[in-house]
Symmetry: C2
Subunit: 221 residues, 2 copies
Amino acid sequence: MARRQARFTAQELADDPRLRDHSSGLWREGLGDVQRGLLTSAVRCFAANGFHATTTRDIAEGVGLSPAALYVHFPSKELVLFEIVRTGHERVLTRVQDPSVLSARGDGPADRLRAVIAEYTAWHARHHVAARVCQFELRGLTAGHYDEILELRHRTNAFFRDTVARGVADGSFAQVDVKRVTRAMLSLSIDLVRWYRLGGSDSPEELGEFYAGLALKMVAR
Amino acid sequence: MARRQARFTAQELADDPRLRDHSSGLWREGLGDVQRGLLTSAVRCFAANGFHATTTRDIAEGVGLSPAALYVHFPSKELVLFEIVRTGHERVLTRVQDPSVLSARGDGPADRLRAVIAEYTAWHARHHVAARVCQFELRGLTAGHYDEILELRHRTNAFFRDTVARGVADGSFAQVDVKRVTRAMLSLSIDLVRWYRLGGSDSPEELGEFYAGLALKMVAR
DNA sequence: GTCTATAGACCGATAGAC
DNA sequence: GTCTATCGGTCTATAGAC
């Protein structure tokens, strides 16, 4: 008995309502249909079973191909993971920095904080399966790819810290510990990928509003 | 090239300050010294590389034994993981339900909420390496063992929900959504195992107090 | 209780036909 | 671009000596 026990086949994963999210529309421009299909299949497999417990056969079966076909579209299993993780990190960072998101509710620090936390939270909920891979499968990356992702994460964290710091500086917020409070806000949005399911009592947007409200309570004067 | 790239040897892991925590004193009574040593080594390996990327050789090397020696002390690699995860879940649940913890600051709902959140948070910080395994390696368990752990988690969640609900019922807290708010509080304590390190700017107790304060802000009238 | 050696099974990636 | 077949390597777990 030399291997894994609690695995799920690609077919089971495709039918599992707990693995339903909006990630199939996430991938970069310029990728072919087969590549996108493989990424979507890989996301489900990695999220359900983990990177190391997922085989190239599992991923390929999810789109009805043989294991060898994967290597026509991606040079390695690790690069499938990297493509998923990089795309996810880039997409969410672009989204929260989008001017239309940033200023949707006004230009005061509280408006901005509310907007970016609601957006960041809703994004993780909408894409909770892909986001789970982005948050919890980074150990499958090579050292070089891991460093690239870390850079994106640092930029994201700095953006949120700055948003909090501005409200503290101009007196809109209380004199909180910016680093600690920002980390707590991001923890809420990140941890939801562990338990969130689409089709439950909270829509991504409702949860975003709720967590934005909690974030404002954390900095209330 | 049929295997992993970014792994760390047991010796590297033993010297890594990011993997220093208080888990070596965590194990059940009745276990021998070698068993405890193997569990401590396994915790470091699982936390750093993940369950599936960790080999029985890695675990055994951490205590200077050959790979075969592990099977004298544990019947399988999965049961090493189960012992770690079950012990962690039992220990933290026992701790937050301890009467001396519960009533340390008084018997009002706010006192109790502050006490249990501070304790739950500090426990996860003190044992952040083992806690990472408890939170993020559940997929390595067999279906039966996974269900046992889920039962412990449900009891823990119910305990915290009840603590919040009492304060809402007697008017100590605002009329919040108990389920959502409780989940947010636990998310803070759980997500810290992703980034927390001992020896940094926050001690486990300081972080516990800080998160207890945030929890009270979430339910403030 | 520890070791060396290895059985038995599986996986990532490649070769080569079509 | 997809397939079948398979290589080379690695893993969990066991056998058997000490």
